[in-house]
Amino acid sequence: MTYDIDAIIIGAGGGGPVVAKELGEMGIKVLLLEAGPWYGNKKWPHPNKEQGAISDATPENLSSELLGKHFTDYEDDMNNYVSGRFRWGHADRNRPPWFRMVPHGGFIWQSSGVGGTTLLYFANSPRAYPIAVDDIWPIPYRELIPYYEKVEATLPVSFAPMTAKEELFFYGAQKAGWSLIKTHNVTSPGYRPQPNAILPPPPNINDPNLKFDGNTVGCTLRGHCINGCDIGPTVEKTAKRSTLVSYIPLALKTGAVEVRPNTFVTKILTETDKDGLRAVGVRFRNTWTGEMGDLKAKVVIMAAGSIETPRLWLNSKLPHNPWIGKGLTSHWFDCVSGIFDEQVLLTILGLPDVKPYVGQNSAARFDYPGLGVIQGFGLSPGLFSSFLFSLSDGYNLLGKPYPEEPWDIKGRVVGQELKELMLEYPRTLSFLLFTDDEVNQQNEITVASLLRDEHGPIPVIKYRPSEQDKQKRDKLAVIAAEILKKTGAKKIIRSDCSPYLFAHIQSTMRMGYVVDTNCEALQVKRLFIADNSVLYNSLGGPNPTLTTQALATRTAEKLANKYFS
């Protein structure tokens, strides 16, 4: 057979570029296909308006100046679910997004584009909890450690700096009697700075003479991790280490990697030989022209995310397996926030407010193996108001909390109450909660039988948390409220998010069930997976990206040894 390339990777999000860089360094020729646009590249000066070039393989075309133009700093322009640059959809924002069906309501926070959802992630890069891996996953925790270390050094990951909101978080956690933990490998509850994939601020950041012109090396504490970070003198020195600015430039520098945006893979091509079924390539669609094509490769790596990877498997009619798309975990988020009097803040911080828009979006965390995560966060006001006041499925005004509940407000807030609470925006400290939710085969990605878009039957997402998940989440909410109370909050708000906000989408093509311990599909040789879908479970609650990147590093090594040594 004639091959177009050694390896095709589907998806340039959190995992795909990691595999590309690792394989490229070994001299294996890679084509990385991405459904969305490429921001900050001279070959696509207007990535949302015109098709631009077909592909690029040269790091010289990366442009920080263009990235600054494309990332406009405005939250609706960047993160609008329907028309934002970071939406799940076609590069042309005049077209509707690619629709997914969530029959319980809710929405899925994913981004297409080179960098994928790391374009908007907080860059929180904790490891999994060892107790969620050891004697549970098909591989032990110690197997992951060297790969964690490699990714942490490559991104790189460092402990986050404190601004007012982090200082207040740590003050409260200490007052509530919790311990400071100084480890990556968390085995007991406690608080710590976030291990973030963000370059540390320059040492002279507090010098009033330091002008912020966008070219500073390191984080400038501007609070735009989620709305698109473009701070840095070059793309590869951009402060927040989305794969767009970390692994993609490294991959291009190997000289063996070509990246092709605006290319949606609709089918995995296979052949049967004496060893059984094997992947031989992909069928793709140019999202601008609609033109279809086939590409052949010695190996194919699916890294399209926990929704599109199982969708692609199902739409490709690959062999039946009762675990395709099954076992979805999503950390069932919640938010708990506290409002403070100026006087209390002056006493603790020497400042009259806590300014949630200053500092890295999330720079402090509290880990509780067995329950999940509480992490501090602060956002620009449109996103802030949505997280705190609109994600529940019940109104506070139609059902106030019971007196014994440790919060004053619970659920969706509207009307005069919403306006009054938003007036307190500069004096609000917020916590985001991630539940250690359990794998359940009923929680699944399937494809619709009748509804289709230009790429085939659309995905349908079903998720219902268990009673145990609910108990864990409630315990985390009580701990968060206690911390805020000890800190001196005058009013506590629990968002009580519905289970249908999907941001950490994991474990739908699990190791041991769909792929082997090398992340090669059990039923299709030469087909690998390198995204959140191969995670065996929800890691105990920690943010999944680092673990996916560690596994992607390991997968690249195993794949190269098996097929290219």
Partner: protein, 221 residues
Amino acid sequence: MNFLQLIVDILKFLFQGNNSLPQTKAAFKSLAGSIVPNTPALTEQDTYSIEALNLHTDEYQIWILNHYVSLKLILGNSNIYLANATAGMLNVAARQLITAGRNKQLISPTVLHEEGPFAALEATDRCRTITLLEQLQADLASLPFPFRNNPGIVLALISIITMLATNGYYSEWSGYGSTRLEPPDRRKIEHFPASWKQIGYPGPSNGYHALRGYLFNQFTE
């Protein structure tokens, strides 16, 4: 429902397109106004009385709903314009609330006639209407296409409409002024959003001299 009725419904739905009917505009004005209402000044801040309607948040909701879904129909990919249908759903549910006597405040017969049942309700009763839909207690068979007898689509839409108002009002969107309904790449910020002034957000910045140190210098492992 018979097949012929379904075809008629689909044709009616497609014919309406993205032109908002008068009752659609009224329903979204009342929805946005319930979420971020006009309020008498509680503080001396002169911006406090600004509300969603001053910032055209209702237009934001309609724009989003008309650009939200695209599916492959017989003739290729088509936009599914949902604003009219969503307003229709709110009105059917509001009428049910009124018929069942579950609204707590009296309604205005004039508004009911001119703007529809949802707009005629008081703000808290509009929340009760949304709850009726959210708990699937409304008569789904009476809802307009594509919501009729389709709880998945009802929940998918109803779960986001509050967020549409908070996003529209508290983000920069109102600052696009006269370009606010243009395609995203043609919008220009014309003024500082009144909602940001209201809550004390200074707008995007390139950085802050705000470092307060580090909790510790290195991890132990």
